[in-house]
């Protein structure tokens, strides 16, 4: 047993809630399997629930547990319980399953609303295990926190008080996130005691093809060349693509490249792996990887999660995975406990990629992202309050996470879904509220996307109401798992978009006329060059036109009007009002400078906030009616907000510093989509830079890339040279070696924010 496992288990046995933060393949599952199995061995009535974000992970964990239980020779019944569980098996699982492995969606609609059928489980629930904690952030995490409130409420009814064991990849605030999710104090175990072999981490930036447009050579092509080189040398390699399409493209490239065949590298030795593959096929690939029969695998982030495939020699990431945590997870797939391994990050042209690739010091040296949630988002909270009232009546004065529970219950009573009588609130509606709440989006009234390519239409996705005018207006190109679909008809009343598969060389980008009004101002503080604020805003957005933009070249190849009603949303925002110093920027340049700054902030903030760039939006005003000054607003893109822009208020200097680094290090002459181009304004790179300097983001960072460290990041010549091999010493160019450190962990463990 490693030291981190021992410590985690010790804390659990002492009755603490524990979050274990460990890199991939350091044996984190033992941290929860051991205490749970011990509990069942001591008391056969004891029960546990395991929550995994996906069904595939549940299956994987089931197999691992069965293995352990076989060794023990004990009668411990372990089952997955999800949409795939046959009806005939459900009764037995409810009555007699010791360990029930499920996912949040099933807990939400299938278990909690039927808790009387699970009486045995809830009466004896000792442990709740939540793995892949870092997945539960933003909207999903805010939902999960409320789901846990409901779970604990049901447990109280049955007289149990389970302990929580959580596991997470490296994030900046594991303790804070875990405590936010379960609403209790949590001990953090963050040092990994697992041995690690030497590991090289290489940052690779493909050469610039067109400096004006900021276009570099496709990261897919260079990732392919790197992976093919490894495979030909007999090095077991995993390649990560960002989309399903990228995976398929990379797979066919690689099979072609390996077809000529070195030893043990025929095309059948390279496999693809992504959602959509059948479970049996996936199991076979996983086994092949462990046994070494499969030499190469191309995957989406499906393999980033805790599925056991053993450890490989090399990892190539085609594009920045989106978060520092994901990058470490993916890179962690390469790395034997002994022996050397390598992970290569190949950057794409996107601003996020370019920032990371040019700032390896940031990546290695600074904290990883924050997992942020806002369990008290009004919309999310109200949705779950309804579900909770359905499950058990509320007593007057009972708290559901917030002090204002009573107020919210009275609101629901006014809405006619609750009936208050004799000091209790009863569910008083025909509906089944959990069915109306999707854990993966904030607003309840989603649009469904229906694919009509084939004779039998099928639903392929959902879009929340506030994004619908941007993403699924008629003629929009809707991207789903890397496939292109064109919207043929949008039935706004029925909330349905009918789409058809197409293969075109452009995407669509809708322009949004945004009108933003400050409702309340919660906080303000002076900053160099101005003042920062946070508070609640009302955003009115009207989608006006869309442009068709050609891939790669970003040429505008057509446009159309959008005729859809205006959207209104209340959310949280952070805003920055410029002081008189900003008047040094000429009024003719001010608009471009502000638009550039807004674009930069939206592009770099996700690095700090661990969110998708679509989760936040920015808008700029040269003369804002509320502040009376030139102002940039950044707001959460979901109603009520999930805490993203609130945190930006605190991270203000970091955001500006990163924005400045990104724009300065971008090789384009005067602004490109990788830095300041966006929002329809002509870019003006120098004006934006001057503005950033006024705002105090001036001096060079402690470890600027120019200082010469970590030069691999600046490597702009292709890595693959004719005849070059990696087997010996010469093949790998200057590398950023991270062998001893692993991901920086535990910088801010515990209870920040509290």
């Amino acid at each position: 047993m490693y030291s981190h496992q021992a410590r985690a288990i010790d804390l659990v046995l002492k009755g603490h809630n524990v979050v274990a933060v460990t890199p991939t393949a350091s044996g984190k599952t033992l941290c929860y399997n051991l205490p749970v199995l011990q509990a069942v061995l001591d008391d056969p009535a004891a029960r546990a629930i395991y929550l995994f974000p996906t069904k595939a992970l549940s299956q994987d964990q089931l197999a691992e547990l069965h293995g352990l239980i076989d060794v023990l020779g004990a009668d411990i019944k372990t089952h997955t319980y999800d949409g795939d569980t046959p009806a005939a098996a459900r009764r037995a699982i409810r009555a007699a399953g010791h360990i029930v492995i499920t996912n949040p969606d099933m807990l939400h609609t299938g278990i909690l609303p039927h808790h009387t059928k699970w009486m045995k489980l809830f009466e004896n629930l000792r442990y709740v295990v939540i793995d892949e904690l870092h997945h539960y952030r933003g909207v999903f995490g805010s939902h999960l926190a409320n789901l846990i409130r409901r779970l604990k409420r049901v447990c109280r009814f049955y007289g149990s008080n389970p302990r929580f064991i959580l596991c997470s990849a490296t994030i900046a605030n594991p303790g804070e996130l875990a405590e936010g999710l379960i609403g209790e104090k949590v001990e953090v175990v963050a040092e990994s005691g697992a041995p690690r072999g030497e590991k090289h981490f290489i940052f690779y930036n493909p050469p610039v093809l067109n400096a004006r447009l900021g276009i570099r050579r496709s990261c897919l092509l260079d990732a392919k060349a790197l992976a093919a080189m490894f495979l030909r040398q007999g090095i077991q390699t995993i390649v990560f693509g960002r989309t399903r399409l990228a995976v398929e493209v990379l797979l066919s490239y690689l099979r072609e490249a390996c077809g000529a065949g070195g030893p043990g590298a025929g095309p059948e030795c390279v496999r693809g792996y992504r959602g959509g593959y059948l479970p049996l096929q996936r199991r076979e690939i996983e086994r092949g990887l462990k046994s070494g029969e499969v030499r190469g695998v191309v995957s989406t982030n499906a393999l980033e999660l805790g599925i056991d495939i053993g450890q490989l020699d090399a990892c190539v990431m085609a594009g920045y995975p989106g978060t520092v945590a994901s990058t470490w997870q993916q890179a962690g797939r390469a790395g034997r406990r002994s022996g050397t391994s390598v992970a290569i990050l190949v950057a794409s042209s996107s601003p996020l990629d370019q920032y990371i690739i040019n700032h390896p010091d940031y990546f290695f040296g600074l904290s990883p992202e924050h997992g942020l949630i806002n369990p008290n988002n009004r919309y999310i909270l109200l949705s779950h309050l309804k579900c909770a009232a359905f499950e058990l009546p509320f007593e007057e004065g009972e708290l559901f996470g917030v002090a204002t529970t009573d107020e919210a219950l009275r609101y629901l009573e006014e809405q006619g879904v609750l009936r208050r009588t004799q000091g209790r609130f009863y569910w008083a509606s025909e509906s089944f509220p959990a069915e109306d709440v999707s854990l993966r989006s904030a607003s309840t009234d989603n649009f469904v996307v229906i694919d009509c390519t084939r004779p039998e239409p099928r639903v392929i996705g959902e879009v929340d109401r506030f994004s619908a005018p941007m993403l699924i207006h008629e003629e929009a190109i809707y991207l789903h798992e890397g496939e292109q679909y064109q919207v043929e008809r949008l039935d706004y009343e029925e909330k349905k978009a009918y789409v058809r598969r197409v293969d075109v060389d452009y995407y669509t980008d809708a322009s949004l006329a945004v009108n933003l009004k400050v409702l309340t101002q919660a906080d303000r503080a002076p900053v160099p060059g101005g003042e920062r604020f946070r508070g609640e805003v009302q955003v009115n957005a009207l989608a006006t036109i869309f442009k068709k933009i050609r891939f790669h070249t970003h040429e505008n190849v057509g446009w159309g009007r959008i005729h859809l009603p205006e959207q209104e949303m209340h959310t949280t925002a952070y805003w920055l009002a410029l002081g008189p110093e900003a008047d040094r920027i000429h009024p003719s340049e001010l608009q471009s400078a502000l638009a550039g700054l807004a674009n930069l902030m939206v592009n770099v903030a996700p690095i700090l906030l661990m969110c998708d760039p679509r989760d936040i939006r920015a808008v700029s005003h040269t003369r804002c009616p509320f502040t009376g000054r030139p102002t940039v607003y950044v707001y959460d893109a979901c109603p009520g907000g999930v805490g993203l822009s609130e945190r930006l208020f605190e991270l203000h200097p970091d955001v500006l510093q990163m924005a400045r680094d990104l724009v300065r290090d971008c090789p384009c002459p005067d602004g490109c989509p990788s830095c300041t181009l966006g929002g329809g304004e002509e870019p003006n790179k120098s004006a934006t830079l001057r503005l950033l300097e006024i705002l105090g983001a001036a001096g060079p960072r402690a470890h600027s890339p120019e200082s010469g460290a970590l030069t691999a990041a600046r490597q702009e010549t292709p890595l693959v040279r004719a005849g070059g091999g990696v087997g010996g010493n010469g093949g790998v160019p200057a590398s950023a070696s991270a062998e001893e450190e692993g991901p920086p962990v535990g910088r801010s463990p515990g209870h920040a924010g509290g």
């Binding site: 039927h114 009387t116 359905f390 009936r419 004799q422 509606s429 089944f432």
Partner: protein
């Protein structure tokens, strides 16, 4: 003052409109409405007391569930179970007088913990000197949420040991819902001796005949009942919520009446199903229902009655006067182990079987006549399988041969007969003749098959023929080997 007692000044309260009384329980008072009906009272044309004569074991086996929740669904049972244990696990001393009919009105159909059963109606046979003397119908009503525990406690207290639960869709809906309510109120649900779900019986016996098995459709189609004034079921939850909000009970008497009628209809349907199972051939009914009765009885191990029903069903959809001798009712049946009679082959190996001559069949027979013929053919095939399964070869062979004699002979009959001669009777030549006959009909297009089916049949028959000829060849060669 408790809010549940609050009465509107303007609107009538439920107790003003429905003649009920308050029953004291440890959890408070429960509002109950009781009606006592004589056994002769007709419910939809059937006297209530008629239920006391139904074969309760048979009915329970056909649509019931054991106390532990284990289902008696015969479709899932193995053949051995069907043959040897037609009524597994039922209490031996079950009597129709133990039945308690139960129906609930709820705040929704969603199920789960947030759905309330606000009206629970029960009907049972009240004994007097050990004999059922009247039918009692009692309805408990939750006037507001806080009264639910009292209603549940009243139900528990009323419950008699040995009560056999009878519901309509209660296996899936009413009973689990009530169990949830008891659990939520930290009470123990009573445990019935068994559970008989009339919806199951209806699906099994009448789906083919009446289509939809909704209670309203069944009572209209089978009992000829048309409700004069009725609340549609889907409106009931909102009527209750309206009543809670406005305290206006004027819509409630109709809900009580609806619930009451549902229970009476349930009694009538259960009685009807029991009578049908008891005397299946006495009923004035159609081929579809006879066939369904036949299947059910066969599955319950009532083989003779089941076969008789299937035969009657076939007769019912045969044109007048064309009843083949293989389809005549056989009650009681002949000894099963006897050898087939009729034109069974002798020991001789070279012989011409009286096979029909092929004639191109008119596969496109249309209209009611064509449909009836299609149904008849299906039922004949089903009867053949049943006979084969029961090992009643003599009757099976007779039946299959009759199928060769009809206007369009059937491939399946050829094949089944060939199998019989090859594997049962050990007469390879007779089997070969049948396969050859089938091929002749096939080539003449006389079997009414489409191109795909013909190709598949040709392949299968070819394989069968090849195997038969191989075996025949070996048989002839064998003495030589021995001589050598």
């Amino acid at each position: 003052m408790p809010e549940a007692e609050a009465r509107s000044e303007f609107w009538p309260a439920v107790e003003d409109l429905v003649p009920g009384k308050f029953e004291p329980t440890p959890m408070g008072r429960a509002f109950a409405v009781e009606t006592v009906l004589p056994l002769e009272e007709q419910a939809a044309g059937v006297p209530l007391g008629g239920f006391l004569q139904v074969p309760i074991h048979l009915l329970t086996a056909a649509c019931g569930s054991l106390p532990g929740g284990a289902s008696l669904r015969f479709l899932g049972a193995t053949r051995a179970e069907r043959a040897t244990a037609p009524l597994p696990g039922l209490p031996g001393d079950l009597s129709p007088s133990q039945a308690v009919f139960l129906d609930t009105e709820t705040t929704g159909l969603a199920g789960g913990t947030g759905t309330l059963a606000f009206l629970v109606g029960l009907g049972w046979f009240e004994p007097c000197d050990g004999q059922p003397s009247a039918f009692v119908l009692r309805q408990y009503f939750v006037r507001d949420y806080p009264e639910e525990p009292a209603v549940l406690a009243a139900l528990t207290r009323l419950w008699r040991p040995g009560w056999l639960l009878v519901t309509f869709n209660g296996l899936r809906f009413d009973w689990p819902l009530l169990e949830t309510r008891w659990a939520l109120n930290r009470m123990r649900p009573p445990s019935p001796a068994g559970h008989l779900d009339v919806l199951r019986a209806a699906r099994r016996l009448w789906r083919g005949r009446v289509g939809s098995c909704a209670l309203s459709n069944l009572e209209a189609a089978l009992l000829g009942l048309r409700r004069e004034v009725d609340v549609p079921s889907y409106l009931i939850p909102s009527l209750y919520f309206d009543y809670l909000r406005r305290r206006d009970a004027s819509a409630l008497p109709a809900v009580f009446a609806h619930n009451r009628q549902d229970i009476l209809t349930m009694v009538a349907l259960a009685t009807l199903a029991g009578r049908r199972l008891q005397a299946p051939l006495a009923a004035d009914t159609d081929a579809t229902e006879l066939a369904a009765l036949g299947r059910t009885l066969l599955a319950l191990g009532r083989h003779e009655e089941g076969l008789a029903c299937l035969r009657a069903a076939i007769r019912a959809c045969s044109p007048e006067g064309e009843g083949s001798h293989g389809l005549r009712p056989r009650l009681p049946a002949p000894t099963p182990a006897s050898e087939p009679r009729g034109f069974g082959p002798s020991a001789s190996t070279t012989r011409t079987l009286p096979l029909p001559t092929p004639a191109r069949s008119d596969a496109g027979a249309t209209g009611a006549c064509g449909r009836a013929d299609g149904l008849r053919r299906r039922l004949v095939a089903e009867l053949g399988w049943a006979l084969k399964r029961l090992g009643r070869w003599a009757e099976a062979v007779e039946l299959w041969q009759s199928r060769l004699g009809q206007a369009r002979p059937e491939l399946e009959a050829f094949v089944e007969l060939a199998k019989y001669w090859e594997h049962r009777a050990g007469d390879l030549e007779a089997a070969r003749q049948l396969v050859l006959g089938a091929l002749k009909h096939l080539e003449a297009g006389a079997l009414g098959l489409d191109a795909g089916q013909e190709a598949a049949a040709r392949r299968a028959l070819g394989q069968r023929l090849a195997r038969l000829e191989r075996r025949l060849g070996r048989l002839q060669a064998a003495p030589l080997h021995r001589a050598g």
